[in-house]
C-alpha cells in the first residue's frame, strides 16, 4: 500500500487524435482545463478534447504569481471572484491533489488620502457582499507585517491598508495538473503539442478545427487562449476588444521567514509575498506597450526591486534568483469575456483574463461548462458577455490589477 503512494504514475494519458469531438477546447491553460474538467464531471458521455500548441500550462497559467482574492470593486467582480475563492477552499479535496492553497491574507497598501478613500470604498462594497475586507491603520499593518517601513517623511508613507484575510496563494502548476488529471480521469482527451492553425466553417456555423496533426470535426469549439485570443479571432473573422501585454515577475533567493501575507501597493505598482521555501515573489503591472514577446527586461526588474525595497527595506541586497514573463489578454474594463459571439454558431470565447485569471479558473470553468451544457447563462457570468462593449455595459473592474492603475 505504502509503495503505491510512491509509485510513479502518469497524470494523464497520451492520446491519438480522433476525427470528431463533441467539444474541442483550444488552449491547455488553467481555464481550458478547468472547463474540460467540469464538462466531463457534469456529463461523462461527452467527447471532449483540449488542444495546446505547447505543453499544458505553457501560457500564463504556468507563469503567474498565484494570488487568489475576492476584494474587488464591482458587484459583478466581487461575486464572481468570491465564488472562485470558495471553490479554491475545496479544490485540493475535489481534485485529490495538494494544491498548497494557503490563505495567508492580503494587504492593499495606501500611501495617499485618495487611495485610502478608494480602499475604503472597496471595503464597503466587499462587506456588503459578505467578503471579509477591512480598512486598517498603519499600526495594525505593522502588527501583521513587522518588517514594513513605517517611517514618516519618506516618499511613499504607509497611511493604511485594505486587509482581506481569506486571500491566499496556491501552487499554480498543481492547479493546472490537478484539473488536467481530473479531466483525463473523467474521459477528456488532452492533446499537448497540437496547434490549432485554422477553424473550419460552413456559413456561420463552426464545424471543427485544422490542427498541426490534421483536421478534426467538432460540435462546439471553445477558445481559451488568453493572450493568443486575437489569433483565434482572426481565424473566424470576429473582432475582440483585447490587447496582448506582457507581465513580468521575479523571485529572490530564499531568505529567512519575514512576511506571511501578500502585500500590494497600487501606487508603487508592486506586490510581494514570501513562499514556503523562503523566496520573495515580486510582481507588478504590465509592460508599457503591447507585445507577444516573452522577453524579460532589466528596466522592469529595476523598477520592481526599487519599489519592493521601499516597502521592505530589508530586501536591499537580496539576490535575484530568476525573472520571467507571460502574456496577458487585457480587456478595456479589466473584466473577462465568456460566452458565444453574435453571428457565429458553435463557437464560444473564454478570455479576458488579463493579469487576474488564475484566481478565477475554478468558477470560470464551472460556469462555462454549465453554459455549454444547459444553454442558459449562469447569473455569475451574465455581465461578462462580449455584447457589453457594443451596448455600453462596461464593468470597470479597477481592483482587478495593478495594471488598472496605470491604464
Amino acid at each position: 500500500m505504502v509503495s503505491q503512494l510512491f509509485s510513479r504514475q502518469r497524470f494523464w494519458r497520451k492520446q491519438e487524435l480522433s476525427s470528431y469531438y463533441d467539444i474541442v477546447i483550444i488552449g491547455g491553460g488553467v481555464h481550458g482545463l478547468s472547463t474540460a474538467y467540469y464538462l466531463a464531471k457534469f456529463d461523462k458521455d461527452l467527447k471532449v478534447a483540449v488542444m495546446d500548441k505547447s505543453y499544458l500550462g505553457a501560457g500564463a497559467s504556468g507563469r503567474n504569481t498565484a494570488i487568489i482574492r475576492a476584494n474587488y470593486l464591482t458587484p459583478e467582480g466581487i461575486a464572481f471572484m468570491n465564488a472562485s475563492l470558495k471553490l479554491y477552499e475545496q479544490l485540493s479535496g475535489e481534485l485529490g491533489l495538494n494544491l498548497l492553497f494557503s490563505q495567508i491574507g492580503r494587504l492593499d497598501i495606501g500611501h495617499t488620502e485618495s487611495t485610502l478613500f478608494w480602499l475604503r470604498q472597496r471595503s464597503e462594497y466587499n462587506q456588503l457582499m459578505g467578503v471579509e475586507s477591512n480598512l486598517i491603520t498603519p499600526d495594525e499593518v505593522k502588527a501583521i507585517v513587522p518588517e514594513i517601513d513605517l517611517r514618516e517623511g519618506k516618499p511613499f508613507p504607509i497611511m493604511g491598508a485594505l486587509h482581506h484575510p481569506p486571500a491566499g496563494v496556491a501552487r499554480h502548476d498543481a492547479v493546472v495538473w490537478g484539473y488536467a488529471r481530473g479531466a483525463d480521469r473523467n474521459g477528456v482527451e488532452l492533446h499537448p503539442f497540437t496547434e490549432v492553425i485554422g477553424i473550419t466553417k460552413e456559413g456561420r456555423r463552426v464545424t471543427g478545427v485544422d490542427t498541426s496533426k490534421g483536421r478534426v470535426k467538432a460540435g462546439l469549439v471553445v477558445s481559451a487562449t488568453a493572450g493568443w485570443t486575437s489569433t483565434i479571432a482572426r481565424m473566424i473573422d470576429i473582432d475582440v476588444p483585447i490587447l496582448t501585454y506582457p507581465l513580468q515577475a521575479f523571485v529572490t533567493e530564499p531568505l529567512k521567514p519575514m512576511i506571511d501575507t501578500t502585500i500590494s501597493s497600487g501606487e508603487l505598482h508592486t506586490y510581494i509575498y514570501q513562499t514556503e521555501r523562503g523566496e520573495l515573489v515580486i510582481g507588478g503591472g504590465v509592460d508599457h506597450y503591447p507585445t507577444y514577446s516573452h522577453k524579460s527586461t532589466l528596466h522592469m526588474l529595476e523598477e520592481l526591486a526599487t519599489n519592493a525595497i521601499r516597502l521592505l527595506p530589508q530586501l536591499r541586497g537580496a539576490k535575484v534568483l530568476r525573472q520571467w514573463t507571460g502574456i496577458c489578454d487585457m480587456t478595456p474594463d479589466y473584466a473577462p469575456i465568456i460566452g458565444p459571439v453574435d453571428g457565429v454558431d458553435n463557437f464560444m470565447l473564454n478570455c479576458g483574463w488579463g493579469t487576474w485569471g488564475f484566481k478565477a479558473a475554478p468558477i470560470s470553468g464551472k460556469t462555462t461548462a454549465e453554459l455549454i451544457l444547459t444553454g442558459k447563462v449562469p447569473e455569475l457570468i451574465e455581465p461578462f458577455d462580449l455584447n457589453r462593449f457594443y451596448e455600453g455595459r462596461l464593468i470597470n473592474e479597477r481592483a482587478a490589477a495593478i495594471a488598472a492603475a496605470i491604464h
Binding site: S230, L243, H288, S293, F389
Partner: protein
C-alpha cells in the same frame, strides 16, 4: 527586451523614452463626426492585436514630442522601419 526605436527626428533611442499610441488598422480608423455608435465602439475598444506585423503610432514623449509611425513585428518585437505619417494630423 532592450529595444531601441529609431525616432525619425532624434535617431536611435531607448524604448522607455517612447509611448505606444496604438495600432493603425481598419479598426482604428475614424471618419470623424459622422461615425456611428458602432464605429466609435470599434474604434475605442477593439483591436486587431496582430501577432506579427503591426503598423502603429509611437510618440517620443521624453524627446522631441513628435508622433510617428512604426512597423513592428509584435512577436519578435523588432521594429523594421519608422517614418513620419503621410499626412500630419493637423494638416
Amino acid at each position: 527586451m532592450a529595444l531601441l526605436i529609431e525616432c525619425p527626428n532624434c535617431g536611435s533611442r531607448d524604448v522607455h523614452e517612447f509611448r505606444h499610441g496604438g495600432e493603425i488598422s481598419d479598426l482604428s480608423e475614424r471618419k470623424g463626426i459622422s461615425d456611428s455608435d458602432l464605429e466609435l465602439t470599434k474604434y475605442f475598444y477593439f483591436a486587431r492585436n496582430n501577432a506579427g506585423d503591426s503598423k502603429e503610432w509611437w510618440y517620443h514623449s521624453f524627446g522631441c514630442r513628435q508622433w510617428f509611425v512604426a512597423y513592428r513585428n509584435t512577436v519578435s518585437d523588432q521594429i523594421r522601419e519608422t517614418e513620419w505619417p503621410e499626412k500630419r494630423l493637423d494638416s
